[in-house]
Amino acid sequence: MIPFIYFLIAWLVLLLLFLAAATVSILQMMRYGLAHPLTHASTALLVLLTAVVVLGTLGYLSGVDLRAGFDLNGLFSAPSLTPTL
């Protein structure tokens, strides 16, 4: 049983790495990019997608029991090899 909070910490660390790299990329684009609608549109799209994914994930996580453990063995021992659609 692995505490779920460990996965949350790993996710937050990776998210911080992403945010740092994305911020540097945006700063470079804003500093050296040509004043053109496509420059602004691509940057706005990156910011928008980031906001949607991060807020959506946080919204979903608010309904998850973070104190519960994640049982890896129990999950993968379940026999389910037939399509269920």
Partner: protein, 207 residues
């Protein structure tokens, strides 16, 4: 931000003639790869839904799938953005006085080079291969007096038109700035003759 009406080190009476980038087809392969990487989390989700639907009943497993799937999606979008940045910031600017080459190397590397049009001696357009011929893009090599290195426009659309345009502009600039061109040529000649003289003297002094 970089404005075309405020070029770096602008010269008097300078007017923009053209701004060129690599042909968009040069990043087509990259876009296709990223598209497949973007749909990969969705594919994994569908696979689990079809073959292991009971996994999705586990709230923690679903939460992990959403967290790390979303993060993977964000990293792919960011790498796509960085590659677009690399493409978008590589520009060749032609004005009636000079050629500017602004090249982005990765995220932090940036090279800016400049060439005065009256120094242009030879311009070569090169279209090689089936794709380049069909889509009319290729290389333009600009050779200057006294320099061995080429000034290269990489994979630009309509290379023949660009080379013709540069030659015409160079001719015009040479006529308009004949004095400056002559002065520079004289300086180069005197510098070369001085170097020759120094070499001869050095040989004479050596035992």
């Amino acid at each position: 931000m970089f404005h075309l009406d405020k070029l770096p080190g602008a010269l008097p009476d300078e007017k923009l003639v053209g701004l060129y980038r690599r042909h968009p087809i040069t990043i087509f392969g990259l876009i296709v790869t990223f598209f497949f990487m973007l749909v990969l989390p969705l594919g994994i989700y569908l696979f689990i839904r079809v073959f292991h639907s009971d996994y999705l009943a586990n709230q923690q497993f679903l939460a992990l799938l959403i967290m790390f799937g979303g993060l993977f999606f964000l990293f792919v979008v960011m790498f796509l953005y960085q590659n677009f940045l690399d493409y978008w910031l590589d520009t060749w600017i032609v004005t009636n006085r000079r050629i500017l080459n602004i090249e982005q190397n990765g995220l932090f590397g940036r090279t800016t080079s400049e060439l005065r049009l009256y120094r242009v001696q030879d311009v070569t357009a090169k279209v090689a291969g089936f794709v380049q011929s069909m889509l009319d893009f290729g290389m333009v090599y600009v050779q200057t007096a006294g320099e061995k290195e080429y000034f290269t426009f990489e994979d630009v659309p309509h290379p023949n038109l660009i080379s013709k345009q540069i030659l015409e502009l160079a001719e015009l600039d040479r006529k308009e700035h004949l004095e400056a061109a002559l002065e520079e040529a004289a300086e180069e000649t005197s510098a070369a003759s001085k170097e020759n003289l120094h070499e001869k003297m050095a040989r004479h002094i050596e035992p």
